[in-house]
Symmetry: C2
Subunit: 117 residues, 2 copies
C-alpha cells in the first residue's frame, strides 16, 4: 500500500513515517518502479508499534536501537524483549504520574469550588 494508507492505519503522519524511515526506524521498506514507497502489512504493524511506543514516551534513540536489533535477526530477541520490558515498567511509572497529577488537579478544583461558592 501507499504511504498515505500506511499513515492512516498506523496513526503516524506521512512526514513522520518518512522521517522515521530516514532515521533507520523502519526496516524493509521497498520502492515501486516509480520510486514510491510500498508498505506491506508487516510494515504497517511495525509502524503501529512505533506509534504506540512514541505515544507512551519512548525516546527515538531507543526505537532506533530496537530497529537495529530487529534487523540483526532472531538472535537479538532477548535484547528486544528487555527493551520492551523496560518500556513496560515506564508505562507503570506514567500511570503513577497520571494519578499524582489527578490528585493535584482535584485539590485545585476543590479550592476553585470554594471560591465560586
Amino acid at each position: 500500500m501507499r504511504i498515505s494508507e500506511a499513515a492512516a492505519r498506523s496513526g503516524l503522519n506521512v512526514d513522520t513515517i518518512r522521517y522515521y524511515e530516514a532515521e533507520g526506524l523502519v526496516p524493509n521498506v521497498v520502492r515501486g518502479t516509480d520510486g514510491q514507497r510500498r508498505f506491506s502489512p508487516d510494515n504497517v504493524d511495525w509502524l503501529t508499534l512505533l506509534y504506540w511506543l512514541r505515544e507512551t514516551g519512548m525516546p527515538m534513540k531507543v526505537m532506533q536501537r530496537f530497529a537495529a536489533l530487529y534487523a540483526q535477526g532472531d538472535a537479538t530477541i532477548p535484547d528486544r524483549k528487555s527493551i520492551l520490558l523496560d518500556h513496560s515498567r515506564l508505562l507503570a511509572k506514567r500511570r503513577d504520574d497520571l494519578d499524582r497529577c489527578d490528585e493535584i488537579l482535584a485539590r485545585k478544583l476543590e479550592i476553585y469550588e470554594e471560591y465560586l461558592r
Copy 2:
C-alpha cells in the same frame, strides 16, 4: 528561597524555571537586592503544578494562558477551572493509551516467548 531550592522542591530544573519565567508562566517572582530571584512557598506550589502539568503533557501555550488568567484575578476562576477539567480529560485519554500500549507489548512479548522456546 533561592532558585536551586525551588528547583529541588518543584521537580523542574533551574534552567527550565528561568525559561518558564521568561515566557510568562510564573507570576510574582521577586528579586533580592542582589538581583537574584526569590521564591515564596506559593511560587513553589505554582512551579510544582507546572511540573505535573508538563509531565502529563500539557502544552506550554495552555500553561501560558492559565498563568495569564491567574494574573487577572479571581474573576477568571471559571476559565481556569475549565482548563484543568480539560486536562483531566486528557489524563483519562492517556491512561487509555497506556492500557492499549500494554496490550500491544504483551502480545509482542508473548511472540518472543514462543521464539525463545
